[in-house]
């Protein structure tokens, strides 16, 4: 499929429904009627090229997203990543947790295996939450202020002081792998656990864990290969513009 501005938004979604995730995270409301991509973007105040680059990457996965996505204001990407976070925290994670709770109530195995899985998953939630909290409360605000201050005549004093001892590289070095544990959970469910009586729920939990895993993978690619390289560039520009 060749994605172009004059294509109908509904056709785009029909040909690849996984792209719904992108629309949701850009908060584009449904009810497109026969509107084109271009029109919908305009109405929603979303940059057409930003949208096209995102959906093209998600759909084709054939080019390095950094090449094209890095050339937009960084705040757009931050907004996108933030709304992805809330999708995880408000929807995916509690849903999977609930399903494991449900499985636990069906589980009459002597070893209480599902109880164990639930404990494991709750541990994961704690780790996951602190990963996201760090990004939401420290990293993203820093990035937004960097971009803001770069546009100013003179940077805010407190920000100028902060950036002297800080670079986004520090964050990249510590950026933890939030997929690893999820992959473990998936493999344990898939390889080492006999399914409890209700197979349908069991299968569904697995499907959702796979989905979340893929989604997280894309999210990490956007963070590590688009966002951070872009911030590194901004930091360089900042130091050139305000050498101190």
């Amino acid at each position: 499929m060749h994605i172009h501005p004059n294509m109908k938004m509904s056709d785009l979604v029909q040909s690849d429904f996984e792209l719904l995730a992108v629309l949701q995270r850009l908060k584009i409301p449904f009810g497109f009627k026969d509107k084109t991509i271009q029109t919908v973007c305009k109405e929603q105040g979303i940059d057409l090229h930003f949208f096209l680059n995102l959906v093209k990457w998600f759909h084709e996965r054939d080019f390095f997203p950094g090449e094209t996505l890095m050339n937009h204001p960084v705040k757009w990407l931050v907004k996108y990543l933030r709304s992805t976070h809330s999708c995880y925290v408000d929807y995916y994670i509690p849903r999977i947790e609930n399903e494991i709770v449900q499985m636990e109530s069906f589980d009459h195995s002597a070893g209480h295996n599902m109880q164990l899985m639930l404990k494991f998953f709750r541990e994961y939630i704690t780790e996951f939450s602190s990963h996201i909290q760090l990004e939401e409360e420290k990293i993203f605000p820093y990035i937004l202020r960097l971009e803001e201050n770069l546009a100013k005549e003179a940077p805010d004093q407190d920000f100028w002081e902060k950036i002297q001892g800080y670079t986004i590289k520090d964050f990249l070095d510590e950026h933890s792998d939030i997929e690893e544990k999820l992959v473990d959970l998936r493999n344990i469910l898939l390889k080492y656990l006999a399914p409890p009586s209700d197979n349908c729920i069991f299968t569904n939990v697995l499907v959702e864990i796979f989905r979340l895993g893929n989604d997280l993978n894309d999210h990490t690619i956007l963070e590590e290969n688009v966002l951070i390289p872009q911030v590194l560039k901004l930091e360089e520009e900042f130091k050139k513009k305000f050498p101190g």
């Binding site: 080019f63 090449e67 164990l116 290969n225």
Partner: protein, 191 residues
Amino acid sequence: MAKVLIAETSYLVRKGLVSLLEHTDGVTELKAAGHPETIMLTLKEYSPDILLLNSAITMPVTNEKLTSILHENARIIYILNTPLPAESPSSQISVFDTKNKLSEKLSFHISQYATQDNDKGETEELTPRERLILKHVALGRTNKEIASELFISTHTVISHRKNITRKLDIKTVSGLTVYAILNGIIKMEDI
């Protein structure tokens, strides 16, 4: 059983190689990349057995560095944009090669990985030694603690842990703990 990475800028050539390799026995995983940065990134994370690299791509590192990123038994096959003489080495393929020629060369390389990995692949069961190490890991001991308790080097502990992770497909300590409980290696109360 080889993992292959195709590093090629040309869309047509990349797609062509993907479709050829998808139907080649012994290819367990296949990835393709075109941009030098993506190639570097994929190399590190994916650690392929065979890297098909177009010789016209300017990589950000030297050839030596490239070889050092690859694992010990991995190999590089160069894709050339020019025709090759009849007696060219098997480590080179050309965009002018016929399908038969390409299949023949690629199968040759892939077959080199078949026997090695098959032996490993079949012994999924943990050895008694590995079970013992796993027990200690699941109980939350560090590599150092395990080493001194079992009178072995930390290096040996690490290599056992690598094997355990490979056999079970479980990477994290909490994942290994769950496995250990499920399989009666430790008890829930132990943790």
